[in-house]
Symmetry: none
Subunit: 194 residues, 4 copies
C-alpha cells in the first residue's frame, strides 16, 4: 500500500519538479504540456492521470515553490540573532535568492499575469500563498518587537512585506540588486528612527 503510494508520489513529484522548473523559467503559457512530459520522461496520459489539467499543475507548482521558499526564509531568519536583525534578514534573504542562477522573480506575480481574471482557483491560491507569507512576517515582527502594540506590529509587518515584494519584483525587472539594498536602507531607517 505504502509502496504503491510512494511510487505514485514519486512520479507525481517528478512531474511537479519538472513543471516547476519550466513554469518558473519560461512562464506558464509558454510552457507546453509536451515539454513537461518529455523532460519528465513520462507519457502524456500518465500526466493526466496525476493531474486533471494543466491548471492543476500550476496550482501544484505554486504550492511547491512557496513551501520551498517559506522553509528557506524561515531558516535564514532563524539563523540571525533575535531583534531587528531578524527583520532585516527578511530582505537580506533576497540577496542570495536574487543571485541564484535561475532567479526569475516572484512566481506568484508572474503567474497572476498569465491567467484570466475569472480564474478564481489560481488567484485564490496566489493570495493564500501571499497570506501565508504575510503571516510569517507578522509572527516575526511579533516575536522581535514585543514592545509594540498589535496595531503597530501589523503596520510594521505590512511595511516589511511591501518592501520585500518591491525589492523582489524590482530586482527581477531591473536585473540588479540595488532595489534590495534600497529596501534594506529604508527598513533600517525605519527601525532606527521610529
Amino acid at each position: 500500500m505504502s509502496v504503491f503510494n510512494d511510487v505514485k508520489s514519486k512520479t507525481r513529484h517528478t512531474i511537479i519538479r519538472t513543471a516547476s522548473d519550466l513554469f518558473y523559467e519560461k512562464g506558464y503559457n509558454l510552457t507546453g504540456i509536451n515539454e513537461i512530459i518529455e523532460e519528465s520522461g513520462i507519457a502524456k496520459a500518465t500526466l493526466y492521470s496525476h493531474f486533471r489539467s494543466k491548471e492543476d499543475l500550476l496550482l501544484a507548482y505554486l504550492d511547491e515553490k512557496d513551501q520551498e521558499l517559506l522553509k528557506s526564509i524561515k531558516a535564514f531568519c532563524a539563523s540571525k540573532p533575535a531583534g531587528d536583525e531578524q527583520l532585516i534578514a527578511v530582505l537580506e534573504f533576497l540577496i542570495p535568492f536574487f543571485e541564484q542562477e535561475d532567479f526569475n522573480g516572484c512566481w506568484c506575480i508572474r503567474s497572476i499575469a498569465e491567467v484570466p481574471r475569472e480564474n478564481v482557483k489560481v488567484r485564490t491560491k496566489i493570495k493564500s500563498n501571499k497570506q501565508a507569507f504575510r503571516q510569517f512576517v507578522l509572527a516575526l515582527v511579533q516575536s522581535n518587537k514585543p514592545e509594540l502594540d498589535k496595531s503597530q506590529q501589523q503596520q510594521l509587518s505590512n511595511q516589511l512585506y511591501l518592501l520585500y515584494e518591491g525589492a523582489l519584483t524590482e530586482s527581477h525587472l531591473q536585473g540588479a540588486a540595488w532595489p534590495i539594498e534600497t529596501s534594506i536602507g529604508l527598513l533600517k531607517d525605519k527601525l532606527k528612527k521610529g
Copy 2:
C-alpha cells in the same frame, strides 16, 4: 494628403487602443489576433499592414500605456503644492489609479511575465519605460529637495520608486488599497524623520 494620413493614423490608433485594452485586461498571450481585429472592426490583413507582428503590437501597447501614465502622473503631481507633497503625490496618484474599473496592475511587470527571456526587444522596451519613470521621479526629487546632495537625491528617488512599484504591484495582487496606504506611511515617516 493630410486626409490620407489621418485615415491611416485613425486605423492604426484604433488598433492600438483595442489591443491595449485587451492586452491589459486579459494579458498578451491570452489575447488573440482574432479578438483584436473583431473588436477593431478591421480585417486581419489590415492589422498586419499596420503592424509587422503581434510583438510589434505589444511594443506599441507598452508605449501607449506608459505615455498615458507619465502624462497623468506628471499632471497629478504638478497640481500639488511644491515640497514633500509633490513627492507623496507620486504614491497618492495610485489611489484613483487603483480605483479605476479596469485597473489590472502594472503592464510592464505583467508583460515581462509573458515573453521569453530571449525577447530582447520587449524586455528592453520595458526597462526603458521604467527608466523614464525613474527619471521623472528623480527630477521631482531634485526640484522638491534641493537641499539634498546628488547622492541623497538619487537614494530618495530610488526609495520613492521602489515604494511606488511595491504599492502598485501589491494593490493589484491583494485587490486592496492598503499597500498604497502602507507605502505612503513609509514615505511620510522617511520624509519627516530622515
Copy 3:
C-alpha cells in the same frame, strides 16, 4: 505491440499516400495541408504528430515515389533478356509509365521548381534520388556491357540516363509519347553503331 506499430504505420502510410497523390497531381505548393487531412480523413494534429512539417511530408513523398519507381523499373528491366534489350528497356519502361492516367512528369524535377534554392534538405534528397537512379543504370550497363571498359560504361550510363530524363520530361511537357520514341531511336543507333 505489433498491433500498435501497425496502427501507427497504417496512419502514417495513409498520410504519405494521400500526400503523394496530391503533391504529384497538383504540385507541392498548390496542395494545402487541409486537403491532405480531409482526403486522409484524419485530424490536423494527427498529421503533425507523424510529420514535423509539410516539408517533411515532401521528403517522404519523394522517398515513396522513388522507391516505387526503382522497384518497378528494376522489375521491368529484369523481365527482358540480357543484353542491349535490358538497356533499351530503361526507356521502354517510360511508355506504360507515360500512359498511366495520373502521369505528371518527374516528381523530382517538378519539386525542385517548388522549393527555394536555400532548401538544402529537399534539394539534397532529390539529388540523392537521382544518384540512386544513376547507380541503377550504371549497374545495368555494367552487367549488360561487360566488354566495355569502366570509362566507357560510365559514359554509356550517363547517356542512357540523359535520354531517360529528357524523354520523361519532354513526354510530360508535350503531352505525347514521341520524345520517348525519339530517345529509344537515339539509343538504338548508339548501341548498333558503337
Copy 4:
C-alpha cells in the same frame, strides 16, 4: 501620344523585368506580388493597371524569357560555320548559359510544375514556346542537312531538341556541366556515324 505609350511601356517593361528576375530566381508561387512592386518601386494598383493578374505577369515572363533565348541562341549558332557545327552549337550554347550566375534551369519546365493542370493559358503558352524552339531547331537542321529527306530532318531535329532539353534540365538538377558534354557526345556520334 507616343510619349504616353513610351512612358506606359517603360513602366510595364520595368515590371516585367523585375518579375522575370524574381520568378526565375525564386519560382512563380514563391514570389509575392509585394516583392515585385517593392523591387519595381511602383504601387500595387499600378501593377494591376498594367496586368490583370499575377498569371498575366507569368505569361509576360515566359514570353520575355523565350524571346531573349531565341535571339541569343540564333545569334550563337549563326556565328558558327555552316554544317554540323551549327547543329552542335545548339548544345554548346548551353555551356555559357549554364555558367551564368543566375542560371536556374528552364523556365518553362519550372513553370509547368507550378500551375494547376487546368491552367490552359499558361500551359498553352509554354507549349507554344517550345514549339517555336523546335521550329528553330528544325529550320537549322533543314539548312544544314539539305541532303536528308523531310522525315529524316524531322527525326534529327527531334533528337537534337531532346538532347538540348535533357542537357538543360539535368545540368540544372545536377548543378554540373557534364550532362551538356554528354549530350554533345551523343550528338557528335550520331552525326558522325549516321
